[in-house]
Symmetry: C2
Subunit: 476 residues, 2 copies
């Protein structure tokens, strides 16, 4: 390591950048606002894709691919949508050496281009539901960018479904929200709150936007994924209709939903520590690293033989890597793999070989454990499970401890500033009060809970009566 | 089926479009030159990705992701490259509501943006080789487009490596060519010729381009993949250098290589017949379709029970689907799955249940076989292997029968016109003769063989002496 990493308490934001760059997850590119996802970061994205794609397919969806470009006239068909997205678009005006007759927008999201096709494909109730997902890149022009969290181009999946009834569309929207929550919690080890966005925060063109929201270690909120009930807004704009069982024409009911490479930023900020990344075993490109310790050629051979045997023993149960690079010392390797967040390190030295044992070191707690070789496989699998669980519980405890009821705007404002907080507070429901609170404290309404307990209170801003609390936080 | 498919002998090109559209592999989009890859076609692409990605990773490469946009000044740094690609580019001139200071090209290929990063990352011989691959979309403005074969936007993988020596770069270029050949032949069941491109046909900016070339059923050539030895051309343009073991600065030696969604078009044109797609089992989204045959509820139950048992028996050995849709007749389903190219159909009727047997029908030969249920799994696996092999051998036989030595330009021209041919002919090596032959016959040099037998002859065009034959064909 050439130089230290900024600590979280010194400067959380600088710590984040240090980790992302030094662990080689990503790098800045010469294209303004665009990042390069380096192999180690991309391997995390591949794990996210594989595990989420399985869930998307198991719930009946199919993948497809639609064009990168959207004609200007298409984006304009849904009024809220164009107002929300057109200002963020990259615009292609020339192609093949000529000025285009109609400008093309690089997709900021694919509702409009996809639903133009749906309108062609869907004729009858027999064609419904349409359950399509797409993995791809999108572009939204950003002025202030942050690696993974906010970049002009990013990678994501976007699901787009069409249904015969309003009920089915609502059911789908919530089913996906459930899949996102389960994925975030079980795979990324990040507990999430679920709820519905206020009108000011909802997707441009949606009826309702549901969200999963997580707390980062600086007590700010990160929106990890959203699921939109689009109602018939786009169906009417794109004339997506079908003949129902009674032979009458009806507009379809639609949903769209997505998560992006932002999830990688979430993993960094939820679990990392001052020594580097801390990766949940289920998402780690390398779950177990074996570091052989040797001084000479004969001990190298003996130790490497046991390392290979250990790797074999784990087989397909976890991603294992043996770090047999001679040009680095074991100490250097320990630091390197800690920086890269590998959940479990296995140390094997000549004495361990003699004693038929190995040493396991957990990244999350740093604890060492001597394990007999004949219990190696079993113990590695157990320990990885424990790490996965521990990371989740650590986050959950932290989040719950920092989610509090606040009824006084002064205290609210102070705690938002430092140390940061998820505030459960009363709000009268008016966009004006929402905007005033945001203006004054930079906190936004993250979500309105689904099943908020009825509780009388007074709006933080105007003091009018309110029947339940909503959750405020500063957000990325 | 609403209407028939054009036959191959009537109009090969129309047959191709009919199949692609009717089997729902793809559809035209409202964006000029861009296609929509529908779920069935995309499932083929996912199989291609999965099986090729494994080969790319097993040979030591890692995946990463680089920006979609390339600053105009970057593309211009390598003279041949900009000349070849700039005229085909889509150009972003506005972003975030403002005119950009520098235009951005939507990547037609990523050499320039990637090597700008390589120049930052590579310092010493210890950093080499860099072995990176990217899966993504690229855009090349096309006037005359054809679904999968030539579209403005397409999906592909592009590998980009950097090495310390010219020998290593050449070795990598050929290693990848070998992987492409093995993949095309073993997975897609398409035999390919390998060789080197003439200067006129090589990649803009490469030292040498190697190619895999296949014959379609209309006896035209389709280039399935290319592997380029870039020498130090880009290294010099982007200042990608390293300190060698002796401490001296040297430019790296580079390669790039790619295959695209065009492979799906190749599968259609290599194997399809007048009833529809014929898919090689290893790439088919559905390798085995079970069609239950029943007249009433009790027979439906009995038959479906056996169908489920059969599906269970196959397990992970092949992708199986039971078509239990009640609204369609078995005959309708047979046609549908033949159109969609499913390699093996299993028919199960009440009499089969009684006799503890099932009927297998091969898509490639139409042959029916009655198989006892207790030999079902074994026989399905054997048959799928036979189909995979048969498709390859059928193509190979066809290709070899249509690859001939031609020494007379008149005969050459006539056979190129009809029925089409791969002509092994003499060429003096001059770009002028190459251009003249192309002008006159529309045939291009597909490749110069690696180990052509020395044979004296006279150039088809100018009559000068030539020492070996090269392969000409009309190409997509």
């Amino acid at each position: 390591m050439e130089k230290g990493i900024t600590t979280r308490s010194e400067d959380f934001s600088q710590w984040y950048n240090d980790i992302v760059m030094r662990a080689e997850l990503a790098d800045y590119s010469p294209v303004k606002g665009c990042m390069v996802i380096r192999p180690y970061g991309y391997a995390m994205w591949e794990n996210i894709q594989r595990l989420l794609d399985k869930r998307i397919k198991d719930s009946g969806h199919e993948n497809a691919y639609f064009p990168l470009f959207i004609p200007e006239s298409f984006l304009s068909k849904e009024a809220d949508h164009v107002e929300g997205f057109a200002p963020e678009c990259a615009v292609v005006t020339h192609g093949g050496g000529k000025k285009l007759e109609e400008n093309l927008y690089v997709r900021p999201t694919s509702e409009t281009i996809m639903y133009a096709m749906y309108s062609k494909w869907i004729r009858s109730w027999r064609d419904l539901p349409v359950l399509i997902n797409q993995w791809g890149n999108v572009v939204r022009w950003e002025m202030r960018t942050r690696l993974f969290l906010r970049t002009t181009e990013f990678l994501w999946q976007e699901g787009h479904t069409a249904h015969a009834t309003a009920e089915e569309a609502e059911e789908e929207t919530l089913k996906i929200l459930g899949i996102y929550k389960e994925f975030a919690e079980n795979v990324l080890a990040i507990p999430v709150y679920t709820g519905v966005k206020s009108d000011a925060e909802k997707f441009a063109g949606a009826l309702r936007t549901y969200t999963i929201e997580a707390m980062m270690q600086d007590r700010k909120a990160l929106q990890l994924g959203t699921s939109h009930n689009l109602g018939q807004n786009f169906a009417k704009a794109f004339n997506v209709n079908f003949q129902n069982k009674e032979g009458k024409l009806e507009y379809v009911w639609q949903t769209s939903w997505g998560v992006s490479t932002r999830l990688i930023g979430a993993i960094v900020m939820a679990h990392g520590d001052d020594r580097g990344l801390v990766l949940p075993p289920r998402i780690a490109p390398v779950a177990v690293v074996i570091v052989p310790i040797y001084r000479d050629v004969p001990s190298r051979e003996k130790v490497l033989k046991v390392a290979e045997e250990c790797k074999e023993l784990i087989g397909e149960a976890a991603a294992v890597k043996i770090d047999d690079r001679d040009q680095y010392t074991p100490g250097w390797k320990f630091n390197e793999w800690e920086l890269r967040g590998v959940p479990l390190r296995v140390e094997i030295g000549p004495r361990d070989v003699q004693n038929e044992q190995v040493v396991l070191v957990r990244r999350d707690e740093g604890r060492k454990e001597v394990v007999p070789q004949n219990r190696f496989r079993e113990r590695v699998i157990e320990t990885l499970d424990q790490i996965q669980k521990n990371l989740f519980e650590r986050c959950l405890k932290f989040r719950d401890a920092n989610t509090v009821d606040l009824d006084d705007l002064g205290e609210f404002s102070e705690k938002m500033e430092s140390p940061g907080i998820f505030a459960r507070s009363h709000w009268c429901g008016s966009p004006e009060c929402e905007a005033a609170i945001k203006e004054q404290t930079r906190a936004t309404i993250r979500y309105v809970p689904f099943d908020a307990d009825e509780e009388k209170g007074r709006c933080l801003s105007c003091g009018k009566e309110s029947n339940h609390r909503v959750i405020f936080a500063r957000a990325y």
